[in-house]
Symmetry: C2
Subunit: 165 residues, 2 copies
DNA sequence: GGAAACTAGTTTCATATGATACGAGTTCGC
DNA sequence: GCGAACTCGTATCATATGAAACTAGTTTCC
């Protein structure tokens, strides 16, 4: 494969780790994820996957694990384990799926809803703190660019499960 | 803690996972990292930490592991293991550190340099493919914003090791 | 000069992750 | 109907990660 860095590549053919986008993305994401993960873990004993399930269930009501997998972009094993944890703490409840005996429908219990209501403001406060000092347009652009990258990565890896936006 | 989403928060007090920046960042980063990690692993048998060490050593010559830790933002255990792997494959060599008997100085061997020269173009091509379709200013802004987020996360977590740019 | 406090790097351990195999249920094709 | 092919969720395994303990070497300070 002939390398031909197209538009916008760092500085012309030079590979500098500090300027390398995948590296920068990973480092920034780790910093942010670590912060958030610690906060949820320390204060509420939740893992990030568990918190994501709670969020989605709070938004969308009763879903199967398969739907949660699609919705959260996490592995089905991760979702299974997170769901198990939440079940043990009675934050979500399972009910039989009408049409499919293999599947269950998950929904937040009142406790789960309560916890979500408690954490959500904190989560938003964290986001606000992270982007404080950025202009709203910058944040919007950032989100668009992230989606682009995700989609490009999906295309390159041949995976279909990526936004084609 | 009173939640008070400041400037630029998604849409007013609503928490939607899809619009939540830490989530978006994590998903995008995972997609990109996964792509890159698979490429290095499949074609060259390198892990991402190993590749990062190679990059930094190619840029900066002989460094101690401590310097590598600082330079790559990775854990010292991760660096230790990555270095071990590279040593086993004779891609880097160790020499005694003059002033400090605990430390060794790591540098690429000719083979290591050769591998770097082989991979670097591929790495740049990946980056180029990822950002193809983005304007150069957008890419530059993206990198700046990522640095900002990383730095903000560092501040919030009380860690010093973050760019104060 | 030598004990206490410190630092570089490794080892150990506990946990997290995802690929793979599996068990149970479903759908398709005949 | 009933077996083959498939899908949902779980269990198993192999690997990756980082926290904490540890070893060996260094600095500090009396």
């Amino acid at each position: 494969m002939k390398p031909e860095p197209a538009s916008g590549a760092a500085d012309e053919g030079e590979l500098k780790l500090d300027a390398y986008l995948p590296y920068r993305l990973s480092v920034a994401s780790n910093a942010v994820s670590g912060l958030i993960a610690r906060a949820y873990q320390d204060r509420f004993g939740l893992t990030v996957p568990q918190w994501r399930l709670i969020c989605v269930l709070a938004e969308d009501g009763g879903l199967t694990q398969g739907q949660l997998v699609a919705r959260t972009v996490m592995d089905k094993v991760t979702v299974s384990r997170a769901a198990q944890g939440l079940l043990n703490r009675h934050l979500v409840a399972r009910s039989e799926h009408q049409a499919d005996g293999r599947s269950h429908v998950l929904a937040l219990t009142p406790e789960g809803s309560g916890l979500h209501a408690e954490i959500a403001p904190l989560a938003l406060a964290y986001e606000a703190a992270l982007i404080s000092g950025l202009a709203p347009e910058e944040v919007a652009l950032l989100k668009r660019l992230l989606t682009r990258l995700q989609s490009a990565a999906g295309q390159l890896s041949g995976d279909p499960g990526s936004p084609t936006v």
